[in-house]
Symmetry: C2
Subunit: 343 residues, 2 copies
C-alpha cells in the first residue's frame, strides 16, 4: 500500500535482492509456520489482518520505532537481537498497561539488508513474541536510508486493571521490578571488552541484546488495587520517574537504586558513580510502579513468591513537583540523565 | 520507549527544537482538542492507548510506512498533504477489508523538521482521519535520517463482510471504484507545469496530495455477498490485479481501463499511451473488487445511486494464471508496470 513516484518503476532488479512480492511470500511462510498465530484469522497477503478481540477486555495499543544509528548500531548486534529488542520494547509497553499481548504488526524499512538478515530480524521478533503469546500479523516492507523497524503491538486488559502513569499519590512507594543498568553495561562492553568477568559479561550481553519484557509481572501488578500507576523504564529511571511524577502531579524522592552487578563493575571501570550510571541506564525494561505504602511489604512478599525475583523500593512520591535524591549531604535535585529522542 | 545508546544523553539541546517531552505534550493538546477521539479511553502520555472494541465485530489492523525520498519528496508537497496521504493509505487498506476505521497510531521519525512542520503533518493526518471517524491514539517520535511516517490503523468489520484478496473466481468481473492515473498526473505536474488546464490541474493535485480513501464504498461493497474479493489499488492496477489473481489462483483479462481526464491529457503530453499510463498509476486508492458476473449490473446501478459515482468493469477473471490485456491485435500479456518497493 505504498508507491514510489520518485523513481522509475521499471528500474532493473538489483542482483541478489528479492522482489517485494517474493520477500513477502517468504516472510508469510516464516510467520505462518510459527506457533501462536491461531487467533489471527487473516494475515500477511491481504490489505489488513483480522482478529477476534476478547469480549470482556479492553484493547490496548502501542507503537515504537527503532532506527539504525539512532537506537542501535548495525555492526554491534546480530540482526536476530535487533529484532528481539524491537519487539521486546513494544511488549514492555503492553506489560506496563497490565495487558496480555495479542498481536503485532511490523513496518520494516530496509537499506542494504540482504534477505537473510531480514529473516533473522523476523526470527528474533518471532522468538520473543511467541514466548508471550503474541502473533505477528504482517506488516509493510519498504526501502529506507537505514534499517528502520516500527512495531505496533496490541494487547488486552481488564478495564479495572489498566493503570497508566497518572495515578501515583504522595506517600506511595516507587518500586521497580529488577536491578538497573545491565543493558547500559552491555552497550559499553564494546569499548571495554575485558572489564567484566564471564558471568557479568553474560548478564550484560543478555540485558542488552535480549531484554526480557516484564509481561507476567505487569499483569500481576496490574491486578492489585494497591498498584496505582505503572510504566516501563525505557529511558532511564531518572527520566521515567520524572515522567510519572509530572503525569501524576506530584514529586518523588529516590532513596535506593538497585544496581545490576554488571553495571556496578562497568561503572567503576569507567570511573563513574554506580548509582548515577544505573539511573541513566535505559532499556532494562523493568517496570516502575507506584504502590500504596501500607500494602508494599505484602506485595513485595507475594511478588517474590510468584516470580522468584525482588520488587525493589526505590523511593517515595510526595507533594510538590520535581525529582530528588538522597545524597551524602542530604537531598539534592536529580537531573534527568536519560534519553531525549529528539536531542 | 526507546533509548539511544549511540550518543551522549547530555548533548546540548539544539536551538529552536523542542525536547521530546514538550513536543509530545503539544501533540497531545493538538490531538485531544480534535473531535473523534471519544472511543479512545487513554491516549498519548501513557505507554499505550486503550479502547473498547465492538462486541459483534472483528478487529482489523494494517500498517504502512512512508519514507521521504522513497515515497514522496519533501519539497514537492506541503507537510499537511504528506500527513493526509500517509493516513489515507492506511484508511484505504481498512476500506479494502470493508472495515470501519476506529483508531490509528503514528511512529514518526524526524530529521530536521521544525516543530511547525510536525504539527502540520499531524493536522493533515487528523483532518482525513476524523472525516472517517478515526481517532489518533498517540504514537512515538524519534530521530531518523529522513522524515519517516509509519502509521498503524485499526478498524472493525462484521465477520461475514471481510473479503480479502483470495476470493476471486473465474468468470467474475474485475471492477474499480473510479478512474485511474490522476495521482500519477499530479506527480508529473512538477515537470510538466503547463500541460493541464486549471480544472484538470486541480483534479491531479487533489488526487496526488489529498487522495480520498474509499471507506464508505468499501463497507458498502463488502456488505454484498456478490463481491468475492477486494483490495485497494496502491501500486497500480497492473500490479495489484496480478496480486489478486495470484492469491485467488486464477488469471485475468483487462478489457477497459477508466482513465482519469487529467491522466489522459498528461500521458498525451508526455508521449505515452493513456491506458498504459493509468495502468501503472499507483496511489489513486480506488478499490478493486471481484464481482459475481450475474450481479454486476445490479450492483453497479445501486453503487451509482448511493455514491453518485460509477463502478467500472475493467475486465474478467478466468481459469489459469497471469494477466492479459485486449490490444489492437488481440490479447497480449500485461506486464506489471506498477511499483515494487524493494527495487
Amino acid at each position: 500500500l505504498r508507491r514510489n513516484h520518485a523513481r522509475s518503476a521499471s528500474a532493473a532488479r538489483r542482483g541478489g535482492h528479492l522482489s517485494e512480492d517474493s520477500l513477502i511470500a517468504r516472510l508469510r511462510d516464516l510467520i505462518e509456520s510459527h506457533p501462536g498465530n491461531a487467533r489471527v484469522l487473516s494475515s500477511i497477503g491481504d490489505d489488513a489482518a483480522v482478529w477476534q478481540p476478547s469480549r470482556s477486555h479492553r484493547s490496548v495499543i502501542t507503537t515504537d520505532a527503532l532506527v539504525a544509528g539512532v537506537h542501535f548500531r548495525r555492526e554491534m548486534m546480530p540482526a536476530r537481537d535487533i529484532g528481539w529488542r524491537a519487539m521486546a520494547a513494544n511488549l514492555s509497553d503492553l506489560a506496563a498497561m497490565g495487558a496480555r499481548p495479542v498481536l503485532a504488526t511490523v513496518a520494516l524499512g530496509i537499506a542494504s539488508c540482504a534477505a537473510d538478515e531480514i529473516f533473522d530480524l523476523y526470527r528474533g521478533m518471532l522468538e520473543i513474541a511467541s514466548r508471550h503469546g503474541c502473533a505477528i500479523a504482517g506488516g509493510d516492507v519498504t526501502r529506507a536510508p537505514v534499517l528502520t523497524i516500527a512495531i505496533t503491538a496490541i494487547g488486552e486488559a481488564r478495564p479495572s486493571r489498566v493503570k497508566g502513569r497518572s495515578g501515583a499519590r504522595p506517600g506511595d512507594i516507587a518500586a521497580v521490578t529488577g536491578p538497573l543498568g545491565a543493558s547500559r553495561a552491555g552497550l559499553h562492553l564494546a569499548a571495554n571488552a575485558d572489564v567484566l568477568p564471564p558471568d557479568l559479561r553474560a548478564e550484560a550481553l543478555r540485558a542488552h541484546g535480549r531484554p526480557e519484557p516484564r509481561v507476567g509481572e505487569g499483569r500481576w501488578l496490574a491486578a492489585s488495587a494497591h498498584v496505582r500507576a505503572m510504566m516501563d523504564i525505557s529511558d532511564g529511571l531518572s527520566t521515567d520517574l520524572r515522567r510519572m511524577c509530572e503525569r501524576s502531579g506530584c514529586a518523588a524522592l529516590v532513596q535506593t537504586v538497585p544496581v545490576a552487578a554488571s553495571a556496578a563493575v562497568m561503572a567503576n571501570a569507567r570511573g563513574e558513580d554506580a548509582r548515577a550510571y544505573a539511573l541513566a541506564g535505559g532499556e532494562d525494561f523493568e517496570l516502575l510502579a507506584a504502590v500504596a505504602p501500607r500494602a508494599f511489604a505484602y506485595l513485595r512478599g507475594q511478588f517474590a513468591k510468584h516470580f522468584k525475583r525482588e520488587l525493589y523500593a526505590v523511593g517515595r512520591f510526595r507533594e510538590g513537583s520535581g525529582l530528588f535524591i538522597e545524597g551524602a549531604s542530604g537531598e539534592e535535585p536529580l537531573p534527568s540523565t536519560g534519553w531525549d529522542h529528539l536531542q
